[in-house]
Symmetry: D3
């Protein structure tokens, strides 16, 4: 049995009734889970750890507190840090280097969620703005509560979103017209619209019901062969960025090792015997 | 008039009331049209033949028997062949080579459907699982009966789907969230959900009605200039795997020959004369 | 205040009640706004001009006359020009060169709409066929009136669409099954279907209501920081044709300059003060 | 017979003893052919014109005056224009937009040489620095005089070369180690080194001998089927930026029209008859 | 011991003193090994067979007769077939389809050499023109005799080379300037020039010496672990068409199976024991 | 003045007579600088640190001891670790996951050298085998001593090279024929051959002379504007993996910030005044 642990502003729990599932919670509810630098660094550390933790086969991500999954970047902190008019550098080219390094490091932290080898289901509720969108596009499946307020808010503070939304959101929902509208206007949208355009897979009545559904979905994934599940996530992510022909080639190489797994015979046998298969850790 | 013919487990008919349309039927209903090796090899042969057959301008694909389009790979046969623990090879690297060659050959057979120069409409019904999804993502338009049960079932037998679903399905429906859910859980879904996410273009009451609709749709395509129709299919497939700029360049080169066709003046003239144009074979 | 101007078959107006918005109207209603060569050349000139005009932050495109946004290419003119059986060239390879140069030049004119640095909202109504689809896929957001009749009509005149529809439409709506059906059959579709598949973002009762909505949406975009809005358009267009990893890298480089804008502090400050920010021209 | 013409700082001649060859000369020898804005604009106009001029089948580019092909950008002019510290714009993000538009427009002018459908042979001599490298990498074949002094000089004025050298030079010579050395140090190199690394194809004793050799080489290209020659240039340029598989596909589509040319039978016949074939204009 | 066999115009021998090496010879010396359709079809069959033949670990390709490796396409045969002015088709668009299908089928036959999983060393001599260049760019290593006459001759018969030279040659030698010169002029070049630009790896005095050297080189490759050698060929071919980042990812997946081979411990052990390792077939 | 420091098996020195240059030395001469895991981890740490160290503008990398730059992977250590037949995992698919994670982590450490924002010059001598090739292909410029022995040795131990050589070496030298020969045979090669194929830029008599030359070359790079130098490295690395068109676009965005540097006017002014410019740190 894995032990719960925590990083500053994050808790990681292993619910006893959801074998092989890790539940990561953003935990700064007093600030509506707004992100400061230590948070994205810690989040990357957590997902890197879960990625190779053999006790974990699927992950749920949610936000603590009734009001918000996250309101996004803590703008006040950022305006004193990242976005501040740093007077020590006066050369715009040198300021640009500092910004670029900072953005890249920040992007890498969010990408850690995408790179986590285990599937990640996010349970959204309340305010899910700005960085909340960046973050949820890096997960695999999005569920939300009926009260969720989404918004690609960056243009409202004079920015083009730069931590992943503009690169990933159109590939998540597959439609550029809607993405352009919400990204160019910063217009908020609710759960029903998110469901209709395919940004979320399902809507639930409350935050609690959403988390329960996310845990159940993650459990279902965790009950399957981890070789099969992790291969499926990897190949789907690869296929997003490559041609069909490249995707087929990568799949054949990937599966040339994966098909040697004992999970196939375990799954086939338990299928015949109508019982639940068990799979070795991964 | 083209003559009907058959390959083992497949029939190819040329319905007299649907000029220029070929109707390919998977014909192993006693096993719910489950695929064994000879079947995908024969299917590739058929579609390669149709691709250059001047009597054919559109193709319908369906499955014989009331219960299933196909339940996918014949797992029993595969577990004695492809997926068997072949004891003659003990070196995992050499086993990997054997698997890779086998997967590539199998993928190529399914890709023959995509590469067929004529548009392919698939009429789905009943069980349409596993390989049934791989196969239908390689066609151009999917129609289905109300009773269709879809499922990306591979994780249930310990595999990441490797014959095309993971590479093509997201590009067919354009939404990664839904694809990840159904591929990572092997959850089945029905006709209405398939319609909602855009996996199928329309739902009909019965298998028979679906086939009738598919033949009608194929006939409509077959009534147009084959130069225009085949060019449209080719350029759309090209554009899926390339940037818009590359797509435009390829289109301009393709059409530099295609626009010299006499079909343009034939079509324009018959449009003015309000009669159906006839086009030379292709 | 910018002055209205016109090019042959186009008017460009700057509505006084929509600051920073340009309204481009296709103006050949007596021919249902069908396009002849001078029109696409003029359209490119207009959008190139708007792209760097500091008085403009968003653009609306619509068609004059009650009946049509545009019926597409003026087939009669084309059959005497572009598509004519030019007897002076008898060598098919040389004819091909002439066609290719012509198509490329034509494509570039439509691409000028996509390349315009300011977001473009198109208000569609009535007949919006053929080139009308090519053109609207090059804009950012599509709105339409309830009476709009859409159609990828090219196969009906013996052509594969070659001015952008086949390259851009699937990436706009994100679904290949529907695109293949409408492009391979030339079947017309209406406003509700366009909304359901995500080709348009919203449907309005009349042409007039659609234009009002488009102006309002453009105004909303024009009220935001132009640095943020133009960056968002650019990065979204870049991301369509590149991998997520490439998109993130490009974003970080783009924003390394853009984040140095004074618009960020202007936006943050006006947010705190609950007033509308003003931004320097761009 | 084509008539000679000139644009400001450029002459275009049609040497009577080199049928179908155009000779473009940079003509600002009093400033060592250093480039100011009107020059790259004019150069683009000339190459666009030559691209579709049926009297032209190959182009030679050289520089007037004994001392220099070109010393590159006219830094004095640039420091008052492009590179000046423009005091009217104080926002670094807005300055960045101005720079980006300017660089793009400048790059497009150089790319006009690459996009010219006829092969371009450049005859280099004397100082061939900075922009001289950008420019010559956009041609097809480079010849030089023994006295040529090459240099990727941009880092010496605080810039990364931005008009094409960094994108094209490594693909011209195929070796990154040497390119990095000369680009990161601004070290000059001579004709022998340029020959050894494959930047130039041959070295001649004088400027005059180089131009004669270039005209002879261009004449040889101009004596071949223009369908074959222009197709070869296009496919080679395409292949540089695409995979082999994509290159093969593009070639097959390109040649599906080009092989219908009467030039093939003309060439075959004249081959049998041991006489020089003549080809229709293109 | 593998048995020698032959296909029309080809022999395949297994030299007893070169274990695991197959020697393929083009055998139509009375026509200077010029290619007719049955030859490229047979060549593809041979290389597909060798690709999975466990007795073969490396392949040598050469041409029979003293005068030529191959003079390329049999132009006389082609002018009655492929390149003939087929009077049964009058529509240029339909002729284009026929040409495209023919070119693609032909390209695929040459690509069979590249796709052969075992390394291929070609021994060139005498005339090695046109298709001889296409063919040798699809092999892995090129050796030649001092008397070899190379030429990309296609422009001389009114064609852009379309069976692979324009896509592969620049990536083989890595230099576009030289490739453009020889492809745009059809100028022949000899062994020394081929060596200097890196088209061949070494030059030998005679045809016989070249074949001996090729067999020796192939034997050396065949003496290594076939898992390592075939992986190296595959990854190098993959890397040619992909970014470094993609290449690294593909390598890590490929080697995740390949590193499980017993060849590693066999190689390490025999290294310590200073004896030649033996490896299981592949 | 930066202080020297060391990491296990590495020293980092800041030579007083080479301003802004860091000299990294691999320091395990008793084992011929063979790499064990801690070494590549430390190397990554060092290059990540140098990448953003404002005191550093160029880096030299060399190996301690007279005999070897590095003999590559410490095979003995690897055979007990990475390559060992780990008995705790029996499922080949799970072993594959372990290998893949390990290879990726190892690749990332080598890629840290490529990603270092400052140019890296490597001084090679003695044995420079296996991993020594992987490592030096990740640097920008390679210099070597006359006694250097190079070898892509991986096939000799049953492996396809997997830490970067197969992805980077062909792009460094630009020629696939030579790379295939040395990679498929593990044949060693010397300094002269390395110079001829362009793997190294220059050859020096001794290890010491090579290091002196490397420091001098690095100093020259360090004397230029760091904005210009670092931009040049970045854009050249980007261009390697992208089309020319993409490279030009990226360059224009990159330089839109970089051209705002005060280094341009500093460089121009000092050029006029014939003195050495000084540049602000970066």
């Amino acid at each position: 049995m894995a032990e719960n642990y925590s990083f500053k502003y994050f808790t990681v729990k292993f619910p006893t009734d959801h074998q092989y599932v890790a539940h990561v919670e953003i935990n700064r509810p007093e600030r509506l889970n707004a992100f400061i630098e230590v948070m994205w660094e810690n989040m990357a550390k957590i997902f890197n750890k879960l990625s190779s933790d053999p006790h974990v086969r699927a992950v749920v991500l949610s936000g603590a507190g009734a009001k918000a999954f996250t309101t996004g970047l803590d703008v006040k902190a950022a305006s004193e840090g990242l976005l501040s008019s740093d007077d020590t550098k006066t050369d715009p080219a040198r300021k640009a280097v500092a910004f670029r390094r900072h953005i890249s490091a920040f992007q890498d932290c969010i990408t850690a969620v995408e790179r986590c080898e285990k599937p990640v289901v996010v349970a959204l509720h309340g305010f899910s703005l700005g960085l909340g969108i960046d973050l949820s596009t890096a997960t695999d499946v999005r569920l939300c509560a009926r009260d969720t307020r989404f918004g690609v808010k960056e243009v409202d503070i004079g920015l083009a979103a730069d931590i992943g939304t503009l690169s990933r959101l159109p590939k998540v929902v597959g439609n550029y017209g809607w993405v352009k509208e919400v990204a160019l206007t910063a217009r908020e949208f609710g759960a029903e619209e998110a469901l209709r355009v395919g940004f979320v897979n399902a809507v639930y009545d409350t935050r609690e019901a959403t988390i329960v559904a996310a845990l159940k979905l993650a459990s279902l994934m965790a009950s399957k062969s981890p070789v099969a599940v992790q291969g499926t996530k990897e190949i789907l992510n690869y296929s997003r960025d490559h041609s069909v022909q490249d995707g087929l080639r990568y799949t054949s190489v990937w599966n040339s090792a994966a098909l040697q797994t004992q999970d196939v015979s375990a799954a086939l046998l338990s299928g015949l015997q109508k019982r639940t298969p068990t799979f070795e850790k991964l």
